[in-house]
């Protein structure tokens, strides 16, 4: 794998049942490329949590994934309400998700902490009323 591969996905904000389709597609691509299993799992989980966040908090958005020989970078951008208190949002167990979201199995306050844990570098840009962009990198070497 010498070339850089770029993937783009629209993440619909109104259909919870489809959340995770992009992550699933990325996982398949990485498997085809022969990326080691543990790396694939980290990318898949980090991106899946991000996708879920985009759907339950951000009203959907776009996901751009770049696969280079050195690293896999995921950029997840929404134009949702933004995160009011990022420090709190990064804390395990803290969540602003609704009871409805909780009844679907999410909103445990583990999304952002899991994303940080499974990526090598994570950067969050958020502005209230403008949106949130999360960039995560998982190193290949």
């Amino acid at each position: 794998m010498n070339d850089t591969i770029k993937l783009h996905y629209d993440v619909p904000g109104d259909d919870f049942t489809r959340a995770g389709e992009a992550s699933s597609a990325v996982k398949k691509t990485l498997r085809k490329l022969g990326v080691p299993g543990e790396i694939i799992r980290r990318v898949a989980i980090a991106m899946y949590e991000g996708e879920i966040n985009m759907v339950i908090h951000g009203g959907g958005g776009v996901a751009d994934v770049t696969i280079s020989p050195e690293a896999i970078t995921m950029v997840l951008a929404d134009q949702g309400p933004g995160i009011e208190n990022l420090e709190l949002a990064m804390r395990e167990g803290y969540s602003t998700a609704s009871d409805e979201v909780r009844s679907l199995g999410f909103g445990a306050g583990m999304g952002l902490p899991n994303m940080k844990k499974y990526s090598d570098v994570m950067d969050v840009f958020t502005k209230v009323g403008v949106g949130t962009t999360v960039t995560m990198t998982v190193n290949l070497s």
């Binding site: 919870f16 049942t17 959340a19 989980i45 199995g105 999410f106 445990a108 583990m110 499974y118």
Partner: protein, 119 residues
């Protein structure tokens, strides 16, 4: 432990993956919160849950989970079963509640064994 044994211990019906019942499961976890499941990386794991929406299957897919056990007699939609078949995940259904189902498997020697990577 073979998945077939898990099905026997839990008196479970097989909803998907009949051909893979002789695959091995090394660890298990029980939860209705998918984000908690995603916080722990395990190998060849079984997920016991009372949640029956498609996100259970996606979570299992991301985690490389080999078998899902739906507890408390819950029956997922055919679309959810289809997702499991596409992904090669065995699906079992038991009438037992989550705590009892986990207890029986633990007593039979299946461990929790979750390791948390990257503290």
């Amino acid at each position: 432990m073979k998945i077939r044994q898990i099905a026997e211990i839990l008196d479970a019906t097989v909803l998907a993956g009949e051909a893979d019942l002789d695959h091995d499961a090394k660890t298990a976890c029980g939860s209705d919160m998918m984000s908690d499941v995603l916080a722990f990386v395990k190998d060849q794991s079984v997920l016991l849950t009372g949640l029956i929406n498609p996100q259970v299957m996606r979570t299992a897919d991301m985690m490389d989970i080999v078998c899902i056990v739906f507890v408390r007699g819950k029956q997922p939609d055919p679309a959810v079963i289809e997702m499991a078949e596409e992904r090669g995940i065995v699906v079992l259904a038991t009438k037992l509640p989550l705590f009892t189902a986990c207890g029986k498997l633990y007593a039979a020697g299946l461990s929790g064994g979750g390791i948390r990577i990257r503290e």
